[in-house]
Symmetry: C2
Subunit: 228 residues, 2 copies
DNA sequence: GTAGATATTAAATGAACGTTTAGTTAAACA
DNA sequence: TGTTTAACTAAACGTTCATTTAATATCTAC
């Protein structure tokens, strides 16, 4: 490869008298791999695909990350960590349980929309295969989300704001529909192209209301129900 | 291969003086492929894997189905068709909208538990890749489920049983949490092994209540609200 | 019982895979 | 400026992939 510039807007851009920037290669690989893994899954992506999209040599994946699998694991761990930390922080906050639950839904929705647009797809894909590519440390993270949501639901039930629902099943329906929505937006665009596709914020609002109403004790108002 | 019997309980069983049964090979391949595709995805499964599990020769996949991709498509189309027919039949039935919605959830849950235990996983996987392996005829089927559920929700809103919710978003949260639950049961067993995993029927009941309560008009009883 | 059609097999094919290797180039440091 | 180290490249490696081929075995019909 000589002075030829790479496809603009993609991968590592290096000028003619090119400075070496190892961090750029790593970042380009991470970005390219995240997008491709989310779209096609681990086995559906070759190292050549990733390298080409990143604009670097195939061998750099093994060189920088140790191999295709390690690159995948690194991406999974990084995105997961940030979201889990968010959820745990919010779950620990005080205030009425319904409001905290609302905040959790909003936080996951926000992360899935802006900071980590490929997280839900990658995570869901990984879960479908039983977490085969997950290191045990990463495996612990969905458990932490589960525990955080469960805690809030249990408190809501205890305080009388929620019906006596099963916290695990509630967690599954909440996170399930949330992850499903963000992971399948690409498909929806293809299947229902005529209708304007619903955006993340709209769905978050819908799900917040649906959950809070669905969990609320009948007769009592859904929100602001704190027992002294 | 001589008189050696295959691994018992798997694949095509042929006795010593073995009668030829082409239908057996096809069925064995379909069963093996369904399980493997669901567990590892299209790209995560090789034709050798499938053939070995089915107890037939690799070449039979191309011979009977035309190739790996066609086998996959055949499975997807077959399982989808049956479930879509179920949902449409129920959605068309009379009775209070909340009850019909309950019945739809139950029907999908039943199919996912008993008749097609791998459907949700395969479908979800396919959706995550944007429906790449789906023929246009198969692509139309999720749309039909969407339309059916939407119709029921719209009727519920019109009759005053439901809040004025968005039918599309409601569909997504309903189907999303349902599919998510059944598609991720394998992962749950691995991540929360201490707790007894919740079964399909329990979750169906939970989701029915959550949805009906969540959609219900405040003040009015959730069920049996038919305007004359 | 034989002929013809169908099902099945083992082997071969060529492409694609992830990783390793040896060699080259740019940056860091003296 | 000369030397060392890290980043990078192109090629080769050995493996695995899905499919095709040619030959064989079995079933069906007569």
């Amino acid at each position: 490869m000589t002075t030829q510039t790479r496809t603009p807007g993609r991968g590592v851009k290096r000028r003619a008298g090119r400075p070496r920037r190892p961090a750029d290669s790593r970042a380009a690989l991470l970005a390219a791999a995240t997008e491709l893994f989310a779209a096609h899954g681990f086995d559906g992506v070759s190292v050549s695909d990733i390298a080409e999209k990143a604009g670097v040599n195939r061998a750099m994946i093994s060189y920088h990350f140790g191999g295709k699998r390690d690159l995948y694991a690194a991406i999974l761990a990084a995105t997961f960590q940030e979201i889990v930390a968010d959820v745990e922080r919010i779950a620990g906050s005080e205030g009425p349980a319904p409001e905290v639950l609302r905040a959790i839904v909003a936080a996951i929705g926000d992360a899935a929309t802006h900071r980590h647009p490929h997280f839900c797809t990658m995570m869901l894909r990984e879960v479908l295969t039983g977490g085969q590519h997950m290191a045990t440390a990463v495996l612990a993270q969905p458990e932490r989300v589960l525990a955080a949501v469960q805690r809030v639901v249990e408190r809501g039930v205890r305080e009388g704001a929620f019906r006596p629902v099963d916290p695990l099943l509630t967690h599954l329906s909440l996170v399930g529909s949330l992850v499903f929505f963000f992971a399948t937006s690409g498909f929806r665009q293809r299947v229902i192209p005529d209708r304007r596709p619903p955006d993340g914020a709209t769905y978050v609002k819908h799900l917040q209301d649906l959950m809070i109403e669905g969990l609320a004790t009948r007769g009592a108002p859904a929100t602001r129900t704190v027992r002294p």
